[in-house]
């Protein structure tokens, strides 16, 4: 609408604050962070030296780092699949012509603002081996006898994290999918019904294809957010037991601010960044339907 030529000062003043903030708080840190990954920077050391790929070599030779990557990919991908499928199902149910949609939606959506620190405390109680309600429920339906030590067994602890992540993210996917569903003109579904398509055919041939891009984008956003998430592993499981819930975000944070090895942490962070960019690029090609 406006041209830069005619309103140069207005243009500049609109962008100046963001340039300052984003430049100083995002662009500089990321560029500087990538640079640090090639150094042995540490607040504990008086000088910083260039070490080339040293940090990366160290990381990739460290079996613990590979465990961390495995945990991260496992926890994030399973959580993403869970929350996407569940969120989609809830949205489809809510859009099937029932009443009180606003009420149900609000009831679920509020979960999305429950603070992570609260979830960390709450999950410790729900999954308590002796008194936890989860174990009680499993015992009462006869699935297990005795106690499942959710937080103390390497097989089980990642699932506690996954349940927390999925639970917290279902509302986001639901809200996005529901809004998209409500945006599909009712006539399209009615036309399909007249053409003789039952509900599952409509779902397969009309609704899901129309939802695909939005839901898959929401899933990617959640996956990226799960990668950033650190409260549950840090507070609830402390990465344990025996590193079973040690994820990349926790590993990087601890390398930087517990061991004060900025160089190594920067290398882990840079690897993480590159991994996300490549993954998002591939995902974009595979999961998103190109609009004709």
């Amino acid at each position: 609408m406006y041209s830069i030529k005619r309103h140069p000062y207005f243009f500049m003043s609109l962008f100046a604050p963001a340039l300052f903030l984003v430049g100083g708080l995002l662009l500089y840190p990321i560029v500087n962070g990538i640079w640090l990954s090639f150094t042995n920077a540490s607040p504990l050391r008086p000088t910083t030296d260039f070490v080339g790929l040293g940090n990366y070599v160290y990381l990739f030779e460290d079996p613990q780092f590979w465990d961390v990557l495995g945990n991260t990919v496992f926890i994030c991908s399973v959580s993403t699949i869970f929350c996407t499928v569940l969120g989609l199902i809830v949205a489809l149910l809510l859009d099937s012509g029932i009443r009180f949609v606003g009420f149900f939606r609000a009831a679920v959506f509020q979960v999305w603002v429950v603070p992570w620190i609260v979830i960390a405390i709450l999950w410790g109680w729900l999954f308590n081996d002796e008194w936890g309600i989860v174990n009680h429920f499993l015992r009462s339906i006869g699935v297990v006898e005795g106690q499942m030590a959710w937080l103390f067994e390497t097989e089980l602890a990642p699932w506690v994290v996954i349940f927390a992540y999925s639970w917290r993210a279902v509302p986001f996917v639901m809200v996005i999918a529901l809004a998209a569903l409500q945006g599909i003109p009712k006539e399209i579904q009615e036309a399909a019904e007249i053409d003789g398509a039952g509900y599952f055919n409509r779902l397969r041939h009309i609704l899901l294809p129309l939802l695909q891009n939005i839901v898959m984008t929401a899933a990617l956003l959640e996956a990226v957010r799960f990668l950033q998430e650190v409260t549950i592993p840090l507070v609830l499981t402390q990465g344990g037991p025996i590193g079973a819930t040690n994820v990349l975000s926790l590993f990087t944070y601890k390398a930087a601010f517990t061991e004060w090895d900025f160089g190594l942490a920067a290398a882990a962070g840079t690897f993480w960044l590159v991994f996300v960019i490549i993954f998002a690029g591939i995902y974009n090609r595979v999961a998103l339907r190109k609009s004709a």
């Binding site: 406006y2 903030l21 990321i30 962070g33 509020q110 109680w125 729900l126 309600i133 960019i277």
Partner: protein, 294 residues
């Protein structure tokens, strides 16, 4: 073959049985929805239930949903100076971050939306991509920067940190809104004699109130949640926000007092839940505006 069979069967029954079928289907959907919503709400319900029980009743087997004895003792025990300070710190930081991120976000979003220039799409791509910037990686350089600027252990460090990680979403949310806003209204103001700055301040910002609110709520919730900046950039209780303070203080003193922990959890959730209930519709519209557009 099977397809045509089921189709003909579906078409044949009389109207009455069709209505019945519809009703039965709808009934099933209500049951499923209610069950799913219940499952989603069980953790919150259990948190509330436990928080009102005396500690000895917490370990009852089988567990009781409605407490036998209701006590407010667990809440009363939380009202101390430390929690008060932490809450106040969190409030100050979250409100400042919400204001800064939303206001600067609105300016940037408006610029991208209304000026046609080659850098616009590139900027948007950068902002969206920056959501994937690993927070610990950013923190390394921010730490050095804040040390140099003498901002460690101040609200400013937290506000700036939280603004950095939320401003891309604020910009995205507001740009979607501005893109959908009819330009004729602004053109009318422009023809009416307002300068672009006046158009922005007197016409656009008032019209954008719902989107500004959605952005502010989003930033507030993220800030209220954020743990790592709080742990790293503050060092004393009088500056610490809630998540960091709880991790460092309350969880260290915690001795299996689950009912008190649940009361604490409820108290920490209350501000964001209240905010959510008042602005639910606005927030929803803001978050989903981009999705519906595609």
């Amino acid at each position: 073959m099977t397809q045509s069979l089921t189709m003909s069967r579906r078409a044949s029954p009389s109207r009455i049985s069709r209505t019945l079928r519809r009703r039965a289907n709808l009934g099933m959907i209500y049951v499923c929805v209610t069950a799913l919503v219940m499952v989603m709400l069980i953790p919150v319900g259990w948190m509330l239930s436990t928080s009102f029980k005396p500690l000895k009743d917490v370990f009852q087997i089988p567990p009781r949903w409605i407490p036998e004895v209701i006590t407010f003792q667990n809440y009363a025990a939380q009202f101390n100076e430390v929690l008060g300070t932490l809450t106040l710190n969190s409030l100050i930081v979250a409100v400042c971050a919400a204001a800064l991120s939303t206001f600067v976000g609105a300016m940037t979003a408006y610029g991208i939306s209304r000026f046609r220039f080659r850098g616009g799409p590139v900027l948007m791509l950068f902002f969206m991509g920056s959501l994937a910037f690993p927070v610990p990686l950013i923190m390394i350089s921010l730490y050095g920067l804040f040390v140099k600027l003498g901002l460690l252990n101040t609200y400013a460090a937290l506000v700036l940190g939280h603004t950095a990680i939320t401003i891309p979403v604020s910009i995205w949310l507001l740009k979607n809104f501005f893109d959908q806003l009819p330009r004729e209204v602004e053109e009318a103001a422009y023809v009416d004699g307002a300068t672009p700055l006046k158009v922005f301040v007197f016409i656009v910002l008032p019209m954008a109130r719902p989107a500004l609110a959605a952005s502010a709520i989003f930033v507030f919730v993220v800030s209220w949640n954020e743990l790592l900046f709080g742990l790293t950039f503050t060092s004393t209780t009088d500056m610490r926000p809630l998540p960091a303070g709880i991790t460092l203080i309350f969880l260290q003193e915690f001795e299996g007092a689950w009912s008190e922990m649940m009361a604490l959890a409820v108290i920490v959730s209350v501000p964001v839940l209240v905010l959510f209930f008042f602005f639910q519709k606005t927030f929803l519209r803001g978050v989903t505006a981009g999705a519906v557009k595609g």
